[in-house]
Amino acid sequence: MRPLRHYARLLAVQMRTSLTLAVQYRFDFFLEGALALFWLAITLIPLLVVYSRRESVAGWSFPEALVVVGWFSVLKAVLDGGVTPSLNFVVEGVRKGTLDFILLKPADAQFLVSTARFEPWRILDFLGSIAVLAYAFHRLGRVPSVGDFMVGLALFGVALILLYSLWILVVSVSFRVVKVDNLSYLFISIFDAGRWPIDVFKGALRLIFTVVFPLALMTTYPAQALLGKLTSAHALLAGTGGLAFAAIARLVWKRALRAYTSASS
């Protein structure tokens, strides 16, 4: 019980620090909020362009594809607000050697680096994405059933685990190669493909986006669940895939710590 309380307290302190940091510079706070909404609007443009000329793409109608985009944006908001800032913080820590201080604290280092920073204004992004989802279902003229909604929520959890695990893998690489700015750009660019339903991709790309970089598990499957189109085999595959990625990420992280060389004084 005590460790659990310790970690809950730690999470609260880390979040409080991030919030204090965020409001320290007021102007920046409002600017970031406005930018978040702007980028959400930009995300919708490619979809609007494609569907302006046809009714459906790879079996997905416009409102259905909008569910995927909405889902993708929700996930992206969580990624940008809750995962990326922390992991950028680690990458910088590795390069400057300030990760030393994290490793010297009596708490799990992976937990500490994963909760180091949050960007609270991403909540706007998150709410905007929920609005997109709501609009999509309004266009479809129906709401997900309770069962579909619960599966969707569970898959949201799986998607978060997957995203987070992939990021941890990227960060683990930084222990060896030190500078990974470009690697994180690559990650974000690939993640961007998640705005399209997986059926849009063919052949090798489809396999890669299902197994290696499981975008399908992150956005298409949960959207399908909400639409009541997901088979239970696929749901199971997503759950297993999420756990497998988490286990691999943890293992790689542990090994990577051994390779940490710190920066010289």
Binding site: H6, R9, L10, A12, V13, Q14, T17, T20, L21, Q24, Y25, K96, G97, T98, D100, F101, L103, L104, K105, P106, A107, A109, L112, R258, Y260, T261, S262, A263, S264, S265
Partner: protein
């Protein structure tokens, strides 16, 4: 408390000559070189002991501290601190130690130091009342009460270092690893930080391991020194003994009321510094009394003092001597 046996640490470093062409070539084919940061280093440190790590830049001092604090894995050899292997990073071990680095800071740059203290209190799971009492005590000792509410980025280097010390000692560690804690500080601030470290050591019985470029720090704080050069331990023992062995001489500094006759000075000993109304002689320790008596009777002395030669010089001579003939010594 600390036990290191045959510690070795080898780094693989990417090397290339300067210039664009060499840089391009190194993109395709990288050449690596092995750098031996520590070679068979062994020592023991008792509870409550204050030990200074000395050596030129790149000697391996920081590497040793980082291995002892569990940040780096030794390539070979073993180390224990208390009953723990540092690299296992056990909670009890991390509660027992602290590492302060003069060149890096744990304080949150945009927030006041008090926020970092609160964070560390949560990290070390310290009871509120106990942590507050410790914080107050440290803040009083270092006289930084008004500073801990100001954003860190607005503090001076010395003020930041004092706050770093509070952040690092909030959990009352039993072993202090201090890597150049006084770097960049002015002389009076250095003295205060030194004084604080000594007081902490005396009141808590904590072991202190210190590296510093300022010999003054080491001389004032550490009765025992470990000298490392090019990864090898070349001396482990008392600093004064080392000084006497390397330079068995004293410095006599004299101020004159009028210019002394040429020749009178030279007869007393080897003159190492000279201006019109001042001179410094190097005299073998055994002949100091004789030399002072002679000086007082023959020269127009207005002031006279006898001191040990500067430690920086001694250390330089020691290191030069070592690189000339190899070999390791110990007390």
């Amino acid at each position: 408390m600390i036990r290191a046996r045959k510690l070795c640490k080898t780094y693989r470093v990417h090397r290339r000559p300067p210039g664009l062409l060499a840089a391009l070539r190194s993109v395709i084919r990288r050449r690596y070189e092995e750098v031996r940061a520590l070679v068979d280093v062994s020592f023991d440190i008792a509870p409550g002991e204050r030990v200074g790590f000395l050596g030129p830049n790149g000697a391996g001092k920081t590497t040793a501290l980082k291995i002892l604090s569990g940040l780096l894995y030794p390539t070979s050899g073993s180390v224990t601190v208390g009953d723990f292997v540092p690299q296992e990073r056990r909670t009890e071990f991390l509660h027992m130690i602290t590492l302060v680095m003069g060149q890096k800071q744990q304080l949150l740059w945009d927030l006041p130091p008090a926020e970092t203290f609160a964070m560390n209190r949560a990290l070390f799971d310290l009871p509120r009342r106990e942590a507050d009492a410790t914080q107050q005590e440290l803040v009083d000792l270092l006289e930084i009460g008004p500073l801990i509410g100001k954003p860190t980025r607005q503090l001076s280097l010395g003020e930041r270092m004092k706050c770093e010390l509070v952040a690092a000692l909030l959990h009352r560690p039993k072993v202090l690893f201090l890597d150049e804690p006084t770097i960049g500080l002015d002389v009076s601030m250095q003295a205060r930080v030194r004084d604080f470290i000594r007081r902490y050591n005396e009141s808590t019985g904590a072991s202190v391991l210190l590296t510093s470029h300022y010999m003054e720090d080491v001389a004032a704080l550490c009765p025992r020194v470990i000298v490392i050069d090019k990864g090898h331990l070349i001396y482990d023992g008392d600093l004064r003994t080392l000084a006497r062995r390397i330079r068995p001489e004293k410095r006599i500094t004299m101020h004159f009321s009028s210019v002394p006759a040429p020749g009178d000075l030279d007869r007393l000993g080897n003159c190492v510094a000279r201006s019109e109304l001042q001179a410094t002689l190097a005299v073998p320790a055994a002949q100091v009394t004789e030399a002072v008596r002679a000086a007082l009777s023959r020269l127009p002395i207005s002031d006279i003092s006898v001191e040990d030669p500067p430690l920086e010089e001694i250390m330089q001579e020691f290191l030069d001597g070592q690189s000339a003939n190899g070999g390791a010594r110990s007390a």
